[in-house]
C-alpha cells in the first residue's frame, strides 16, 4: 500500500535548496529541486510530486505565491509548504488562503520538517488507501462497467455470464436509462464473440426505409441517393453481436424481415438479389411492454417469441436504491478526472437527497445530475444545495396546474416541444433534461410529428 512519495524543493538560493534536498533525502524521500518558479512549473508538468517546498521570496520572474498557484492548476492534489522568514510570515498566512497547506518559518527546529512531511504523507497514504478501498468496493459490485450490489442485478450478472457464450437471442427490458445497452455489451464482451464486432442500432432513431437500409445494407441504385453498394449492420456484425435498441418501435414489415434473419440467418440487401448469410447473435432491447404490444396486435408474436428466448428485466433505480451511493462515488471519480474538478466527496444530507429522489430517468438521470452538480460546485464536497435543481423540478411538478381535457399524449408532446425549444434544438441535451434516451426522444419526435 505504501508508495514512494516525491518532493520538489523550489528555492533560488543554492545552499538553501541543496541542504533541504539532502535533509529530505536522508529521511528517505525521493527529492528533486528547482531553482526558479518557472523551473518548478515545468517540473510539475513532467512529474507528479506529492509535496512542494516553495520559498516565498524568489527574485525576478515569478514569486513563491505565483509559483504555488500555477502548480495548483497543474496538480490540484499537491500539498504546498511555503518557506518563509519571520519578516514575511503575514504573506505566508495569505498564501495559506490561496491554497498552501502549511508554512514553515526558517530557521526551524530540525524535527519540524520531518514531522510536517510525515504528517502530510500520512494523510496522503490514508487518501490513497481510501481510493484503493473504494475501487475494490466498486470492483466487487461491478460487472463490465455496471455497478450494483442489488440481489436482482447480481442475479442478472450471473445470468449474463452463463449465457454469454450461447448463440440464443436475448431480450433486455427496462425503463429508459437503466443501462440496457451496457447489459448487451456485457453479454457480448463476456463471451466467445468478444473479439468480434458489437454493432449497436437504435431502431427508433431512423425512419422505416432508412432503418431497413441501415440493417441490411443496399445495392448501388437501390433508391435515390444509393450511389454505391453499402453493407448493412448485420453484415458488419458478422461473427459478433448486433444490438437492436428500441425494438418495440419497428414497423410490421421490418418485424417480418427481422424474423427471417433470426430464423434463417439469411437476408437480402435493399435492391439486391443475392441471399447473404451471417453468423450474428441478436440482442434486442425495449422500454415497452412487448407482451402487451403482442396482445394489442402491434408486435408480431412469432418475432416476440424468437427474441424472448432469454429475457433480462433490469429493475429501475428506485427499486435498487442501495446502489445509489456506489453509483454516485463511481460517477464522481470518473467525472472529477473528465471535468478536471477537485470535487471528490458528498455530504450525508446530499447523498440522502439522492437516495430519496424518484429517478424517473434512472441511472442516466443520476449521472446527469452528478455532472450538473459537479460543474457548478465550487468546493470539494457536493451538498444538498448542489442538487437544488432536483427539488425545483419536484416542486415545479407539484405547482403545475393540470390542463383540463388534455389527452396524456398531447401533454407529452407539449413538454417535448417546449424542451427542444429551450435547448435550441439540441436533441442530446433535450433527452438529458427529459431523462430519456436519445433514441426514445427521436421515437417520440417522429410519433408526434414534431418539427425540429
Amino acid at each position: 500500500m505504501k508508495m514512494q512519495w516525491e518532493i520538489l524543493v523550489v528555492d533560488d538560493e543554492e545552499v538553501m535548496r541543496e541542504s533541504l534536498v539532502a535533509w529530505l533525502r536522508e529521511d528517505g524521500y525521493g527529492v528533486d529541486s528547482a531553482a526558479s518558479g518557472r523551473d518548478a512549473i515545468e517540473r510539475a508538468r513532467e512529474k507528479d510530486y506529492a509535496i512542494y517546498f516553495i520559498d516565498l521570496k524568489m527574485p525576478g520572474g515569478i514569486d513563491g505565491i505565483e509559483t504555488m498557484m500555477e502548480v495548483k492548476k497543474i496538480r490540484p492534489e499537491a500539498s504546498i509548504i511555503i518557506i518563509t522568514a519571520y519578516a514575511t510570515v503575514d504573506t505566508a498566512i495569505s498564501a495559506m488562503k490561496e491554497g498552501a497547506q502549511e508554512y514553515i518559518v526558517k530557521p526551524c527546529n530540525p524535527k519540524e520538517i520531518s514531522i510536517l512531511v510525515e504528517r502530510i504523507i500520512n494523510v496522503k497514504n490514508l487518501q490513497l488507501e481510501n481510493t484503493i478501498l473504494r475501487q475494490k468496493l466498486a470492483k466487487r459490485y461491478s460487472f463490465r462497467d455496471i455497478i450494483s450490489k442489488n440481489p436482482k442485478m447480481q442475479d442478472i450478472f450471473e445470468l449474463v455470464k452463463e449465457i454469454s457464450s450461447l448463440k440464443s437471442t436475448v431480450l433486455v427490458q427496462g425503463e429508459s436509462g437503466t443501462g440496457k445497452e451496457l447489459i448487451a455489451r456485457a453479454v457480448h464482451y463476456s463471451g466467445d464473440r468478444a473479439s468480434k464486432p458489437f454493432v449497436s442500432v437504435s431502431c427508433a432513431a431512423l425512419a422505416e426505409t432508412l432503418l431497413e437500409s441501415e440493417l441490411f445494407g443496399h445495392e448501388k441504385g437501390a433508391f435515390t441517393g444509393a450511389v454505391a453498394q453499402k453493407k448493412g449492420k448485420f453484415e458488419l456484425a458478422d461473427g459478433g453481436t448486433i444490438f437492436l435498441d428500441e425494438i418495440g418501435d419497428i414497423s410490421p414489415k421490418l418485424q417480418m424481415d427481422l424474423l427471417r434473419v433470426i430464423q434463417e440467418r439469411t437476408f437480402y440487401r435493399v435492391g439486391g438479389t443475392e441471399e447473404l448469410t451471417v453468423d450474428v447473435r441478436v440482442i434486442a432491447a425495449t422500454n415497452r411492454n412487448l407482451a402487451e404490444a403482442v396482445a394489442a396486435g402491434t408486435f408480431r408474436d412469432d418475432l416476440y417469441y424468437r427474441l424472448n428466448v432469454i429475457n433480462i428485466q433490469i429493475p429501475p433505480l428506485r427499486e435498487r436504491r442501495e446502489d445509489i451511493p456506489l453509483l454516485v462515488r463511481s460517477f464522481m471519480d470518473r467525472l472529477s478526472h473528465e471535468l478536471g474538478k477537485e470535487t471528490d466527496d458528498i455530504t450525508k444530507s446530499g447523498l440522502k437527497l439522492l437516495i430519496d429522489y424518484s429517478w424517473p430517468g434512472n441511472v442516466r438521470e443520476l449521472e446527469n445530475a452528478i455532472e450538473r452538480a459537479m460543474v457548478t460546485c465550487k468546493t470539494r464536497v457536493l451538498t444538498d444545495e448542489d442538487f437544488a435543481f432536483l427539488e425545483q423540478n419536484g416542486s415545479r411538478k407539484q405547482a403545475w396546474n393540470v390542463p383540463d381535457n388534455l389527452p396524456l399524449q398531447e401533454v407529452e408532446k407539449r413538454v417535448i416541444v417546449a424542451t427542444i425549444k429551450r435547448t435550441g434544438g439540441n436533441i442530446k441535451e433535450a433527452a438529458s433534461v427529459l431523462g430519456i434516451d436519445r433514441s426514445t426522444l427521436y421515437d417520440k419526435i417522429r410519433k408526434y410529428e414534431i418539427e425540429r
Partner: protein, 200 residues
C-alpha cells in the same frame, strides 16, 4: 583494493577523540581508519548573523580535498553547524557519497550547562559518526527509534538510541560492505564496554 576511511579534524579537536574514533570506525565498519590532515578553523563558513558555521559550505570544501584513495572521508569539528532551513545540525553527509561531517559542539554536556563528561561526549560522537557514515553507505533515517540510523534532533534522542544498526539497516549496510569486499565486524560492541554507561 582501497580500504581506507580517512579522518580529519576541522579546527581544534582533542587528539584523543580522533584516535579512539578512528579505532571505533575500524572496528565498526571493517576498514582501516586513518588519521588525515588537520584543517584550520572553518572561518569561511561562519555566519555572523547566526553565530554558527554552514555545514553545507564545509562539506562542499571537504569534497574538494577528499583523498582520491579514500573509501570514505570523515571530518570532525567543534564548530556548531547549521543548514539554512534549521536551527542546527549534529552532522551532515553525502547520501551514498564519500564525505561526512560531525559536529561535537552539541554533544558536550557543557553546551547544556552541565558538568563536562568527555567519555559521554565520545560515546555520543561515535553514534553520530556511525549515523553519518551510514548515510554515505546509502542508509536513510530508520523508523526504529533504537536504531543508530533513526533521526536525532535532540541530544536525548542520541542518548536513547543504541549504538547498533537495526536488522534492516544492518542487512543493507552489510550488503554494501560485502560489495566492497569487507566483512561487517560489529566489533564495536566490545568497544562499548570501554566507555561509560549512558545516563538514564
Amino acid at each position: 583494493m582501497n580500504r581506507r576511511i580517512y579522518l580529519s579534524p576541522v579546527g581544534n579537536v582533542v587528539e584523543e577523540t580522533l584516535t579512539v574514533t578512528a579505532r571505533f570506525i575500524s572496528e565498526m565498519f571493517g576498514f582501516d581508519a586513518v588519521r588525515h590532515t588537520s584543517f584550520p578553523e572553518p572561518d569561511f563558513a561562519f555566519d555572523v548573523r547566526r553565530g554558527q558555521y554552514s555545514s553545507t559550505l564545509i562539506l562542499q570544501n571537504l569534497t574538494k580535498v577528499c583523498p582520491p584513495d579514500a573509501v570514505r572521508f570523515l571530518a570532525m569539528t567543534e564548530a556548531d553547524l547549521f543548514i539554512p532551513m534549521v536551527t542546527f545540525v549534529f552532522g551532515q553527509a553525502q547520501l551514498s557519497g564519500k564525505v561526512a561531517l560531525v559536529s561535537l559542539a552539541r554533544l558536550s554536556q557543557d553546551f547544556y550547562g552541565l558538568p563536562g563528561n568527555n567519555d559521554l561526549k565520545i560515546h555520543r560522537a561515535w553514534k553520530e559518526v556511525a549515523h553519518e557514515l551510514g548515510h554515505t553507505f546509502g542508509l536513510v533515517h530508520c523508523r526504529d527509534r533504537s536504531c543508530i540510523m533513526s533521526l536525532s534532533t535532540e541530544i536525548l534522542q542520541i542518548d536513547l538510541k543504541s549504538e547498533d544498526f537495526c536488522q534492516g539497516c544492518w542487512a543493507i549496510l552489510s550488503e554494501e560492505l560485502a560489495a566492497q569486499n569487507v566483512a561487517f565486524r560489529r566489533g564495536h560492541l566490545e568497544m562499548r564496554n570501554k566507555v561509560v554507561e549512558t545516563p538514564r
